[in-house]
Amino acid sequence: MNALLKALALRSPGDMARLGVILALFGLILFGALRYDNFLSQYNILSFLRYNSMFALIALGMAFVIMTGGIDLSVGGTAAMASVIAALLSPHHWAAGLVGGIAAGLAVGALNGFIVTAMRIQPFIATLATMLAAYGTALLLAGNQSVSVSYDSGFTAIGQDDFLGFPIPAWIALLAYVAGWLVLERLPIGRHVLAIGDGEATAALMGLKVRRTLIAVYLGSGALAGLAGVILASQFGAGQPTEGVGWELFAIASVVVGGTLLTGGSGSIGATLAGALLLAMVFNILNFENGLGWISLSAYWQSVIRGGFLLIVVVLQARLMSRREEKA
């Protein structure tokens, strides 16, 4: 057993949690495949990937923020605002919508970074405020209703078309995760993110540029939320100022299920992806279950389940940590 753990390069309880999430993901897939006829159909797989890429992108940004010991509650509002801006810009050129949406996300990220580092406000409070501001801006720009995108500029291809047989959003998410992995594992800034999460004062004493790193992390989270907003608008054909509620919870849950500590200083990109897929898979299976007619769960129940899921994982994580401290 120990030899096996060693071979898998499992060093810490965090690694065990990561292994757990991957096993759980495969377990769920197996369960779904055996229980439902169309679970492994091409249609289900592709629409699953197309729809959930947005959440995976937001979870990626959130993972970096949480690894510094922070949190970004503004991602849902940012995505909503970006979807409206992208929709408004889409008649000019598909790229205008894309760039505009990402820029909107970067702006919120910059604001978050500024408030957290320069004004020394808790990330929780800072991003709660920018979340409300982002929703407000989205509603203002959209005139309190959804904004139809242009179907002539090719903007809808971003969310709806395929490339090499896979949905474009899935490609985007895949690329983002590869880049995220590189940044975390192979670039100094990734290691600095973890060191800052391990102890901000210590990191500063070791000569790390703490503020700059934190700003970069919030910028990244904002940009990815903006990109998710672009995909949202493109996929559903409209900028949605009231979408995005609870997305931050989905992202946080994905990150935490992926074994990243809410206290910061530890985390994995691959496991975050697995966490996001696992959560999405739970809802996919619930949908199938609804289809079988045994149970009937509304969308509201989904958010109750999501919250409950996060609570369970966080409690487990806290207990794991305290047990480890007792040992030390």
């Binding site: 670039l187 100094p188 290691r191 600095h192 391990d198």
Partner: protein, 497 residues
């Protein structure tokens, strides 16, 4: 001379912390920097590293005038500091900690192999073969310290400042650390070693700089500075005129023993402590910084676990698992740091004083305000607390009066044994003797008092007997008749005989 700091002065809010202090360190020299709490050691070091700005004075590093405005600048100039709380990122690997902020790169990406091999190579020069990819939290304090030193070395440090590096190390680990320091010395690196354990200073340091009251009072080769002289330089100040309020000779020995501690030990801070406190007596506990005084108090009080030895309270063996048990048994502990452990600044005197008593004060779940008022009024007048009203926030009171409120907090729980840790720290001289008189009066009423103090004059004035700790062990018990400045110096300087 690698480093020369001359005429350094620094004041905080008009209160001088350094008064024309100096410090010189030669090439490849290990310089001991010693002094009591508040002597100005850490202020001097922080001015050197750029954490503080100096008001006056000059700093020459390698012959050049320097003036650092932040720690990163002094690091770039080859000054590395190893703090007491070892500053590493605990969950990151050994190799990463050594190279953090200066990662070797290849094609823009981190060259993990170079990092791994470089880390292993530099650790090997200190005879340390460990898995450099394991998180540092896995390793002992000594190993972590070595990693911090290795980090300093790879930064091309010329001067390594070690702030109490041995405080959490055991005997064997200290030996490893000292080997490391010798290795550093051989490669031309200088070390400033801040420490309190005299034996260690004599083992590893070449010279010593002694500070007291913000001034440099002596500099000498370690070999030319006898222990006794060193302690005298550190502590010796003009004795403030306290009236002697201790009991006359052996009167107290007839009283019943309230507390006896025998051969108590826990970890490396408390190795072998024995002491007694009698009813009606003020028993002093003396020792240099780091000798284990506060830790001993925590053992008695149940805040730390005792691993060895025995504690008897009123003749019965006791081993408290938590302070609440000790409190229930009639023991109080007035801790050293009022600000951190004691007062709740924004709450009133009334609330601060009756905090520990609230569970007993309620009637049908509601605080019995009449009784609370009565108790608070009683102690305000008994202790002579100067305040506008009991509803005044405690933060508005002077240090001496805050201390009296905390004393009142314990007294209203009606303790039989009170441990006071540096009861007069940060209090002006008039209030000091008032607090001491108060303790005396309480003892006369039958309370046993264990008084921890760094101030010799305080012990000389008030204690009926003094137990002296050195390096975690009680090395002498001085009864009143043998108590003198010289006797205390001698006991503190001579470590385990």
């Amino acid at each position: 001379m690698l480093l020369s700091m001359q005429g350094i002065s620094k004041s905080f809010n008009g209160i001088p912390a350094l008064r024309s202090a100096s410090l010189e360190v030669g090439q490849a020299e290990v310089m001991a920097l010693v002094g009591q709490n508040g002597a100005g050691k850490s202020t001097l070091i922080k001015i050197l590293t750029g954490a503080y700005r100096r008001d006056e004075g000059s700093i020459l590093l390698g012959g050049n005038e320097v003036s650092f405005t932040m720690p990163a600048e002094s690091q770039a100039q080859g000054i590395a500091t190893i703090y007491q709380e070892i500053n590493l990122a605990p969950q990151r690997s050994v190799a990463e900690n050594i190279y953090l902020s200066r990662e070797p790169r290849r094609y823009g990406l981190i060259d993990r192999r170079a990092m791994r091999e470089g880390a292993a190579a530099v650790l090997r020069t200190f005879n340390l073969e460990i898995d450099v990819e394991a998180p540092v939290a896995r390793f002992s304090a000594a190993t972590r310290q070595m990693v911090a030193i290795a980090r300093a070395v790879t930064q091309n440090a010329r001067l390594v400042i070690m702030d109490e590096p041995t405080s959490s190390l055991d005997e064997r680990e200290v030996a490893i650390l000292f080997d490391t320091i010798r290795t550093l010395k051989r490669s031309g690196v200088s070390v400033i070693f801040i420490g309190h354990r005299l034996d260690e200073l004599y083992r590893i340091c070449d010279r010593v700089t002694i500070m007291r009251d913000g001034k440099t009072v002596a500099t000498s080769a370690m070999a030319d500075m006898p222990k006794l002289a060193l302690v005298r330089h550190m502590l010796g100040k003009e004795l403030a005129a306290f009236e002697a309020i201790a009991k006359d000779a052996d009167e107290s020995t007839q009283r019943s023993v309230r507390l006896s501690v025998e051969n108590a030990g826990s970890g490396v801070r408390v190795r072998d402590v024995s002491l007694t406190v009698r009813a009606g007596e003020i028993s002093g506990l003396a020792g240099l910084l780091g000798s284990g005084r506060t830790e001993t108090a925590n053992l008695i009080f149940g805040a730390d676990r005792m691993e060895r030895g025995e504690i008897r309270y009123n003749g019965e063996p006791r081993s408290y698992r938590q302070p609440a048990d000790a409190i229930a048994d009639g023991i109080g502990l007035l801790s050293e740091d009022r600000k951190v452990d004691g007062i709740i600044p924004d709450m009133s005197i009334r609330e601060n004083m009756t905090l520990a008593l609230l569970p007993k004060l309620n009637r049908a779940g509601i605080i019995d305000r009449a009784r609370q008022d009565e108790i608070v009024e009683r102690y305000i007048s008994a202790l002579g607390i100067k305040c506008v009203s009991p509803d005044q926030p405690i933060k508005e009171l002077s240090g001496g009066n805050q201390q009296k409120v905390l004393l009142g907090r314990w007294l209203c729980t009606d303790p039989k044994l009170l441990i006071v840790d540096e009861p007069t720290r940060g209090i002006d001289i008039g209030a000091k003797s008032e607090i001491l008189r108060l303790l005396r009066r309480l003892a006369d009423e039958g309370l046993g008092v264990l008084m921890i103090s760094s101030e010799l004059e305080e012990l000389l004035a008030a204690a009926d007997q003094v137990t002296v700790l050195s390096d975690g062990a009680s090395v002498a018990v001085l009864p009143r008749k043998d108590l003198s400045e010289a006797a205390l110096f001698a006991a503190m300087a001579h470590q385990v005989e």
